[in-house]
């Protein structure tokens, strides 16, 4: 009986302390842009920070391999030309930084992995924060915006 109560308590504390970290992008703000590429979404996959940690321990088998030669952009930094594993590490680093106090708090950072084919035929894999204001689907026409702060953001064309 005592054990069951303890399990229920653990479950409740997990539910109570678990929070999802969303990052709604401010897409109506005029900020410097380096260039914009136009393309179509080939595939969409929702991932979270835990999956990234698991993949890091696995030697970046899934994400690192898929992202080689691609571009990755997110609010924590990164951008074209950087080492993929470093950037994925930065995502995790950024998420872990949210967990400042040593409380049993679990922050789940929701991310979206987008495979995009641009008009020139090149394909790019971009991981960015999940934004409930803009949900992506396959075949969506998108813009790949290279912002001046060395990050990349994907927006729907309409």
């Amino acid at each position: 009986m005592k054990l069951i109560s303890l399990k229920i308590l653990s479950l409740f504390s997990l539910l109570f302390f678990t929070s999802s970290a969303f990052a709604d992008y401010d897409r109506n703000k005029a900020v410097p842009v380096e260039k914009v590429l136009f393309g179509t979404v080939i595939s969409v996959r929702n991932i979270n920070q835990e999956e990234l940690i698991r993949d890091r321990n696995n030697g970046w088998h899934t994400f690192g391999g898929a992202l080689i030669g691609g571009v990755i952009g997110n609010q924590f930094g990164g951008g074209s030309g950087k080492d993929v594993a470093t950037i994925l590490g930065a995502i995790i680093g950024g998420s872990m930084a949210n967990n400042r106090h040593n409380q049993p708090k679990k922050v789940i950072t929701r991310l979206v992995e987008l495979m995009i084919k641009v008009e020139g035929g090149e394909q790019f894999m971009v991981i960015q924060d999940f934004d409930k204001q803009m949900i992506f689907h396959s075949n969506d026409k998108v813009r790949m915006i290279y912002l001046a702060n060395s990050t990349v953001r994907i927006d729907k064309q309409r």
Partner: protein, 200 residues
Amino acid sequence: MNKIVLATTLSIALVALGGCTNKSVVRYGDASAVETTNINFGSTDLQKVAGQMTDSLLLSPVVGTLTANTRPILFVESIKNKTSEHIDTESITDSISTKLLRSGKFRFVDMGRVSAAREQLEFQQNSGMVDTSKAIAFGQQVGAQYMLYGNLASIVKSNKDKADVYYKFTLRLMDLKSGLVEWADETEIRKTKEKEFVSW
């Protein structure tokens, strides 16, 4: 006595607080009034861009020659948004095409409604509900002769006291048969935002 004073004070306080309540008020405004809520692309910019481009196109001598004896058929390709903002560029092209149609000099084909038109023709041909002798047959539509297309780009500079946004809208008219660009024009918008120091 004290109770009466307390009750009166509370009543006055409640009335005073009631007077401070925020109320949402809805009003109608002038749709063409200048909007300066923030520095981002807004309704005034859209109206300015669409108005200037339509005037420029209609007053162009080249277009005057093209439309002298006929009403050319245009198709509008989407405007490429090269800014950081999520701007509904279809709204800009809608305004431009509506103004051009109202001028009576051009006709348009709407590529955004091709599947809806196909669905209707299929219904007329295959549903068995429409008199086949009067149903519109496939393959009778006319194609566009010219394509209208363009770009919207921005340059943004800012520091802690000032922000400057420069928009450049380019529009071109291409002859689909020859591939020649028959007309092109661009319009610019510059918006600045500065901190104002109020003194009295």
